[in-house]
Symmetry: D2
């Protein structure tokens, strides 16, 4: 069973990562080494060409990975991203962006996962991310 | 000589990439295939551990690369990121973040560059980015 | 239906990419935007720690992506890798290495895919790759 | 002063990473957090288009990073690559390939560096690599 619920995670995030609140990013679901999230569409996220800007996608991807990891190992808020690689595949429509993270490795020191991203209601993947988090040696008791 | 000044670039950005305005990201300098930018520190950019959050760094890196490319090839706003890879090297202090982009290839279809990132006033690099932009086949006349 | 069979592909490869022959890399299967391949174990591929060396995995990953792309678009041998990102997840046992590529985008200019890699007979992924190929504007008629 | 000479490093490599011997890869220079290496040109390293194949470049890049790290921290042969990201920038001419690695972070657990690659005697970079090594917690006494 996941060690944290989407509600608990969003509460942490809203308190401790205010940027996420501004960007209207939230987590819908946390499973066994997985998490899904959403960035609500806002016109101010557009870039030339009328598509959703890349930094919003990167923020969302980083955030759902964080949710997947905390779902797996509990409230280790000090886990930090060490590497993120994103391929932008298709122009993201002016819609909500959905992201699905899946861990492919949880070690003692490093966790690695991938994130598939979609425009809401569309079939083709718009971006694909792989990302590594470093897990601190002493995990806080919370 | 660069084909665009930091002032012209910031004007485009504020109009066409509103997210950048919210994040207080601006461009200080555009050279021959180079650009430098800054994200002004705000407490709401912090994450657990009291460091500046990764998505802010990724947004800044993407933006200075965009400035370096437009400085080289002119107002091709429809150039889009196809790949971005970031290594987070050290915890970014609660300070302004500085980013220096340098193009290492400008082809007809792809431009590639790297971005070195620092906390203002500190010596050690906090993050390193390589990134690829796709340049549209027909560049708009502007 | 794939535009090339594993046999045709291996014939091309043995002729035109001799390194692949030396490394005992071959393609087992080519599907719709997918390909699977194998690197036969040899003691000389080991590195300190008794695990299969990273460069062998990278060679195999690059090669199965090439097979997946030629399976999709036909004999466009001049397609070239522009980016490859690999995460090494677990120490590869002294065994054959298997790789499964899946394209996640085939555009006119760029193809992107991911590759999952395993030690033969084992369950956990040992490495994960994402990679981009550039497709030449004029594809030869063959 | 570097903790290992190119001669010592090449001796280790020839013994413990036989693939490197086959590929005619060697280290020319090890400095303070830097290393330079070379892959001797052989016709069998070519790929369609008459250029040096990508896997050779990846092998060389991985190897010079390893040399740079051992030069910095001594004979920690069990350091292993966790991530490698390569951008292929220009078609590598049928010539020796040169690679220059520079560490941008040496932590207790992770080392990160970048590698610039050139065709011998040519000016333009042909490939750029960033790579992360994991350093084992207990380093062997040698």
């Amino acid at each position: 069973m996941p060690k944290i619920t989407p509600q608990e995670f969003d509460a942490i995030a809203r308190n401790e990562v205010p940027l996420v609140g501004y960007l209207d990013i939230s987590i819908d679901e946390i499973g066994e080494g997985t998490a899904s999230g959403r960035a609500l569409y806002r016109e101010e996220f557009l870039r030339p060409g009328g598509t959703v800007s890349g930094p919003l996608l990167m923020a969302l991807a980083d955030f759902v990975m964080y949710a997947a990891i905390l779902g797996k190992i509990g409230r280790v808020e000090l886990a930090v991203t060490t590497n993120l690689n994103i391929n932008f595949l298709r122009r993201p429509a002016p819609k909500d962006v959905l992201a699905h993270a899946k861990l492919i490795k949880i070690g003692k020191r490093l966790a690695v996962g991938e994130v598939d991203m979609y425009s809401d209601g569309e079939e083709d993947m718009i971006a694909h991310v792989t990302s590594t988090y470093s897990i601190p040696p002493l995990t806080p008791v919370l």
